[in-house]
């Protein structure tokens, strides 16, 4: 196999437990987003748009849908003769099955995969974030700075800085200290979980980390602090633009709503940096004579007979007569029955909301994640009252 300058390793094994029932049967990177996509589409599209044609996708939690979705990578033009997408689930060896114990351990277990390409650099990515980024520029920066490791950082509001891994840097953007979720942050540059390593160095330190029985084998918690401690040259790469960790129901809803804001920096309509996905191939959407759709994103295969306002509607959704859908995210193939009223809610894939149901959060800042159980509970409460 030919030598590659830089290959990507995409960590897609996360459970995303704070997304509750949305990730009960699928990994977080496979969660639907933006009316058409799955979260992982953004990272995979960034790779292909940045000219990175070799991507190892590390999976572990609920991988069935994710594996079949990625397939051979043709949706992202990553079905290549040399390289392309390779799905890398945990595997068994003579000593037994080794689950991925942490992000660094997952990469350690796939050293053989990486070695095939004899890369100079390895880009470590996470499949959990919504953003557009040219990794080629980050690699240029890494080389120009003569760094051992380059970590992409973004300015976050000071008030939120204690929720992130914060990089304290000097004027040359060299990282002098890394603090995970500091109570009193000294800086507001948060790590985006995107690392470029020079491969020989990464290989050496993965080995050291693996030999350390006290390590949790995590990049943020173990490997980066160790490299800092040993005086390696770690440099921060300041990223400007839209970036969102959609780790909670609320942040997933917010990121969907961001797409409806005309000022939003994440432009899905930019043909120079397309976000690719597996296209559902459904007929065009049909908007009935008595329907209304405003300030919304609607995908193909939908039939809209009700009112849709400020919402994101995925493929194959049917919104029936008299239904009002406001500030909602409606995932693929869901049906919203007649005269349903819903506000600030997420409807998961293929769920049917019975006619006349009223859904709205009990507290103004809450988001309702509608589930089968929730609907049944509502129904039994109505029967009790009736």
């Amino acid at each position: 196999m030919g030598k590659k300058k830089c290959i990507a390793m995409l960590l897609a094994g996360g459970q995303g437990s704070r997304l509750n029932s949305l990730t009960k049967q699928l990994a977080k990177p496979a969660v639907p987003f933006g009316g058409k996509y799955r979260i992982i589409d953004f990272t995979l599209s960034n790779c292909t748009n940045s000219g990175i044609d070799t991507v190892g996708v590390l999976t572990q939690y609920q991988p069935l849908l994710l594996h079949s979705y990625i397939g051979i990578g043709s949706a992202w033009d990553l079905d290549r003769r040399d390289g392309g997408v390779t799905v890398l689930p945990p595997y068994s060896e003579s000593s037994g099955v080794k689950w991925y114990e942490g992000t660094a351990h997952a990469i350690y277990q796939n050293i053989n995969y990486i070695e095939q390409y004899d890369p100079d650099y390895v880009l470590i990515l996470s499949g959990d974030h919504i953003y557009k980024m040219n990794y080629a520029k980050m690699l240029d920066y890494h080389i120009e700075k003569g760094a051992d490791v380059t970590i992409s950082v973004i300015e976050v509001p000071w008030s939120e800085a204690s929720r992130f891994g914060i990089m304290n840097t000097n004027e040359q953007m060299e990282i002098i200290e890394f603090e995970e979720k500091p109570v009193h942050p000294k800086n507001n540059l948060a790590s985006m979980g995107i690392y470029i390593f020079s491969w020989p160095l990464l290989r050496e330190y993965l080995q050291i980390d693996n030999n350390n029985p006290h390590s949790s084998h995590d990049f943020g918690k173990d490997v980066i602090p160790l490299l800092l401690h040993e005086g390696k040259r770690l440099v921060a790469y300041p990223f400007k633009g839209y970036w969102k960790d959609v780790g909670t129901v609320k942040s997933l809803w917010e990121a969907n709503m961001d797409l409806l804001n005309p000022e939003c920096e994440l432009n899905l309509f930019d043909h120079m940096w397309r976000i690719y996905s597996v296209n559902p191939n459904q007929p065009p959407q049909y908007i009935a004579a008595y329907a209304s759709v405003v300030s919304s994103l609607v995908n193909e295969g939908c039939v809209i007979e009700g009112e849709v306002e400020h919402s994101v509607v995925f493929q194959g959704v049917h919104i029936q007569k008299g239904a009002v859908v406001k500030d909602c995210v409606v995932m693929p193939d869901a049906t919203i029955g007649e005269n349903v009223y819903m506000e600030k809610a997420i409807v998961p894939s293929a769920l049917e909301i019975p006619a006349g149901t009223v859904i709205r959060p009990s507290m103004p800042e809450e988001i309702v994640l509608v589930t089968k159980e929730w609907l049944e509970q509502q129904r039994s409460e109505t029967i009790e009252k009736g």
Binding site: G34, K36, P262, Q282, I287, S292, V298, E300
Partner: protein
Amino acid sequence: MKMMLGVIDATTYMEPLQNLAAHRSVAAVPFAGRYRLIDFVLSNMVNSGIESVAIFPKYQYRSLMDHLGSGKNWDLNRKRDGLFFFPSPDLPLPSSQIGAFQHFEQHIDYFLRSKQKYALICNSYTVCNIDYRLVLELHIASQCDITEVRYQGRSLEMFVLETSLLLDLIANRVQTGYNSIGDVVHNPFHSLNVCHYEHDGYVAVIDSVESYFHHSLQLLQPDVWKQLFIQSRPIYTKVKDEPPTQYTADAVVKNSMIANGCVIEGHVENCIVFRGVKIGKGAVVKNSVIMQKTQIGERCELEYVIIDKDAKVENDVKITGAEHRPFIIRKGTVQGALMNQ
């Protein structure tokens, strides 16, 4: 079903459709918001289990080839069988009927090498959702030589016959005087047993601008599109990575079929809107067909128009066509406010 070959005759030239087919073959005329005419017959073949499809194009087939590519979108990029493209040699075709034997003869090896016992020959411009397996069943059960698919007594130019009979007809065309499959079927003096299969369900034969426009707007009736877009037998097309369609706060959309990747800021009523169309603020578009990537400026008023792809309508343009004579804005042109009609 590995028993049938699919043959699509895409050589047709139609003067009455010329305004939409000046730079593309009839088979590649855009229809129903995201499809080309050929998608319907091709998807029907694939959904009927046909795994080998030969396309015989003639005029202006660049856009058709670009659309079909390797056949991947129809699952026809196969190691065995799959999609074949047989352009016509530059001969004047002696027959206006579909299925010209002279054209087939140029690529006779395809028919000789194929193992399928039966062949299905279709035109490229009949829009419907049909299961050809039922046609073949009737053909076999009734021991017919040729079975013609009809709709309300009218030929849909879809014929099933044994591949060996097709080879005979091609080889003996000089002696028999039959130049095409249509010649054979429509000649009252032939000695073959010709049967008819009556298709019930939606059919649109697109053979003029008027029928194109009429059938396009008919699709806005839910009972019509439900007969064409059947979940178990989907119509496939070349996929584009367009985002979902965006409706702004000022958008008003009524009774319309809208494809992906559009930005709708104006008023759209009774329209078919293809992928990637932009409709500006304050524009009012009614009873029209807007093809892919066209941009309509602010405050335009358009009614009964067909706008071909990649066209640009500048701000404040007002155009009204007629229901039976829609105004056509050609592909890639700019329609300015001072150029009205």
